[in-house]
């Protein structure tokens, strides 16, 4: 009998432990940051730092070469195997200070990182925005837990990112508005916080998942129902289409506490507060949604134009249902769209982007056909390093949708042309 009671208690404890959450903290600089006394770098200075660097300390973890690329606010370091750094940067008396963190995308390894560039080792060239710096040596360290720094780190400037490469637009599109919640990022997928965050990961574009609430408001959310994978535990559960936006706004929080954004709010934020150039609206609903989404797309394209932003917003057409819904819109051939089906569908709909899934191969002949018609070709969703390298080197796509934009960034920017 005692053994039976022991088993029952053991089973209850096991069941209570089935649900595991991971809250991976990103090391932050805090109030004593070395950056509090520094000044921000100008955009020309930032461009000087972009380039290919060798790694002379820390190469056992981060590889022999890295790519450094500035985004809107952050300086990112892309490594070959899924490691990346995100730094805040400032300068004081021609000394460049860097403070941030590193992360390995395939597990939870992360840590703080700090570094500096001395005046005579590139600091002066950077502050003066000398487009041909003789040398840039970034020296510092990184840690593997908390904010401690206990391993040396050094990057040495080798060459700029190929101008030929930069002259051609290539879109690095991040999934679920910039990254997946399941990858333990510090912000939730399909949130304004993620749109703000993702440029630091190397994204130049985003894919966002669009669904309609019961009162017809397009919101960003991936799954069909409210669930504990994407949202905090709350009093609502069930299909998202059952609830009004007011109910979702007050009674649902994404996993890191953010509200579910409306599509309109997300696009306003993208236009006003980011340098993102491409937005791919992935329509998750089987019910007609185009009549709610197309006016918002039109309004936001005009908003971007008014602000002088180079922003493209494409309505994704992943199925024949979506195509039929899309074709009910007046003048649909002039609505910017992205078609995931065949090239014939692309031509019939006059879609500006053809986006086949990556498992269909590089399809260079069809990509060339799209290019000859003035259309773009993107592929999705490419996460494996070997495939990314192959598609970049052997394919001719104009963009890749990925969960790991820093991996695509590394293999893209390190190319010679």
């Amino acid at each position: 009998m005692r053994r039976t009671i022991f088993y029952i208690i053991g089973i209850a404890l096991l069941m209570a432990g089935c649900y595991k959450t991971t809250n991976l903290a990103v090391p932050t600089a805090g109030p004593n940051s070395i950056l509090t006394e520094t000044y921000p770098l100008s955009n020309p200075s930032r461009k000087v730092m972009d380039g290919i660097y060798s790694v002379s300390a820390g190469n056992d973890v981060f590889g022999d070469q890295v790519v450094i690329k500035w985004s809107r606010k952050k300086m990112s370091v892309f490594c070959s195997d899924g490691h990346y750094f995100v730094f805040d940067v400032g300068q004081l008396d021609s000394v460049i200070m860097l403070q941030g963190y590193w992360r390995y995308c395939y597990n939870d390894n992360t840590g703080a990182a700090t570094a500096y560039i001395a005046r005579e080792q590139g600091g002066t060239d950077i502050v003066n925005a000398n487009p041909h710096p003789g040398t840039i040596i970034i020296k510092g360290g990184y840690g593997s837990s908390g904010n401690e720094i206990n391993n040396p780190l050094q990057f040495n400037y080798l060459r700029p990112i190929s101008p030929a490469l930069l002259s051609k637009k290539f879109s690095i599109l991040a999934h679920r508005s910039g990254g997946r919640t399941s990858d333990h990022l510090p912000v939730s997928e399909n949130s304004l916080a993620m749109i703000n965050f993702t440029e630091g990961l190397g994204s130049t574009g985003i894919e966002i998942d669009v669904q309609l609430t019961s009162d017809g408001i397009p919101v960003l959310y991936h799954d069909a129902d409210l669930n504990i994978r994407l949202t905090q535990k709350g009093p609502l559960s069930g299909p998202i289409k059952d609830f009004t936006y007011t109910q979702l706004f007050y009674l649902v929080r994404l996993i890191h506490g953010e509200h579910l954004p409306t599509l309109r709010d997300a696009l306003i934020f993208t236009v006003d507060s980011t340098l993102i150039t491409d937005v791919y609206l992935d329509m998750k609903e089987k019910v007609p949604t185009m009549s709610a989404v197309v006016p918002i797309q039109k309004e936001m394209l005009q908003r971007a134009k008014d602000k002088g932003r180079d922003l493209h917003i494409y309505i994704g057409l992943p199925s024949t249902d979506a195509i039929n819904d899309f074709m009910n819109q007046p003048d649909y051939k002039n609505i910017p769209s992205l078609c995931e089906l065949t090239t014939d569908d692309v031509q019939n709909l006059n879609s500006m982007v053809w986006a086949p899934r990556f498992t269909l191969g590089t399809q260079n002949d069809l990509v060339a056909q799209m290019h000859s018609q003035g259309r773009l070709a993107w592929t999705w969703t490419l996460d494996n390093e070997d495939w990314i390298r192959e598609y970049l080197n052997d394919g001719h796509f104009d963009g890749i949708l990925t969960n790991y934009p820093f991996v695509v960034g590394y293999y893209h920017y390190i190319r010679e042309n």
């Binding site: 009998m1 039976t4 088993y7 029952i8 089973i11 209850a12 096991l14 069941m15 209570a16 432990g17 089935c18 649900y19 595991k20 019961s214 009162d215 129902d225 669930n227 504990i228 905090q232 535990k233 709350g234 009093p235 609502l236 559960s237 069930g238 299909p239 059952d242 609830f243 009004t244 007011t246 109910q247 007050y250 009674l251 649902v252 929080r253």
Partner: protein, 195 residues
């Protein structure tokens, strides 16, 4: 993790079955079917992050209905359903809405039950569950439902025969609903009829 738990359960029952063979190989009853009805107190282990625990009502009356095939040996097999209110939330949102939300569940479990000693049984039951959420007080009243596929129940029962036809007893029940990560327990009185 769930795979290990399932393997653990199978090993556990295998052990019990094997140990029972040596001293209990003579059937005590004939094969028969039983129909059982249970009712009693249920308690929800609130884990809500968005609503203060004081606003979550956790204790309700739950009912269960179980149909079992009981062969002459220790293990028996059956189906169980029931009706439970998991929680009821009454909360003022943003000083503007007096929101009420409740979730009910109708599970359907495949029950594997074993007699451990005379009149005392343990059972485990995987199954599906239909979950209903009703919300009022913030926007229109909405009733939503969803299917939860990964659910689990464990039950300890004391069942005492009253003559040849009837059985009365009590059950302690633990239930886990995977879709919403909800855990509840219940203690109920059971009345069963041999068919």
């Amino acid at each position: 993790m769930k795979r290990y738990i399932i393997i653990g359960f199978l090993c556990l029952f295998g052990t019990w079955t094997a140990s029972s063979q040596t001293n209990d190989s003579i059937p005590k009853t004939r094969s028969h079917f039983t129909l059982a009805v249970g009712a009693g107190w249920s308690h929800y282990f609130a884990n809500m992050e968005l609503v203060p625990a004081r606003n979550v009502q956790k204790d309700f009356i739950g009912t269960s209905f179980r149909f079992m095939w009981e062969p002459e040996y220790r293990l028996s097999l059956g189906l169980e359903t029931g009706f439970y209110r998991i929680f009821k939330v009454d909360s003022t949102i943003n000083s503007e809405y007096n929101m009420k939300s409740r979730m009910n569940v109708v599970p359907l479990f495949l029950v594997i039950r074993m007699r451990i000693v005379d009149n005392f049984y343990l059972s485990i039951a995987p199954g599906i569950a239909l979950q209903y959420t009703k919300i009022t007080g913030i926007g229109p009243e909405i009733t939503s439902h969803q299917l939860s596929l990964a659910n689990f129940e464990a039950t300890a029962s004391y069942l005492y025969p009253l003559g040849k036809l009837f059985i009365v007893g009590g059950e302690a029940r633990y239930m886990y609903f995977g879709k919403t990560n909800d855990i509840m327990m219940s203690i109920s009185a059971v009345f069963a009829v041999k068919l």
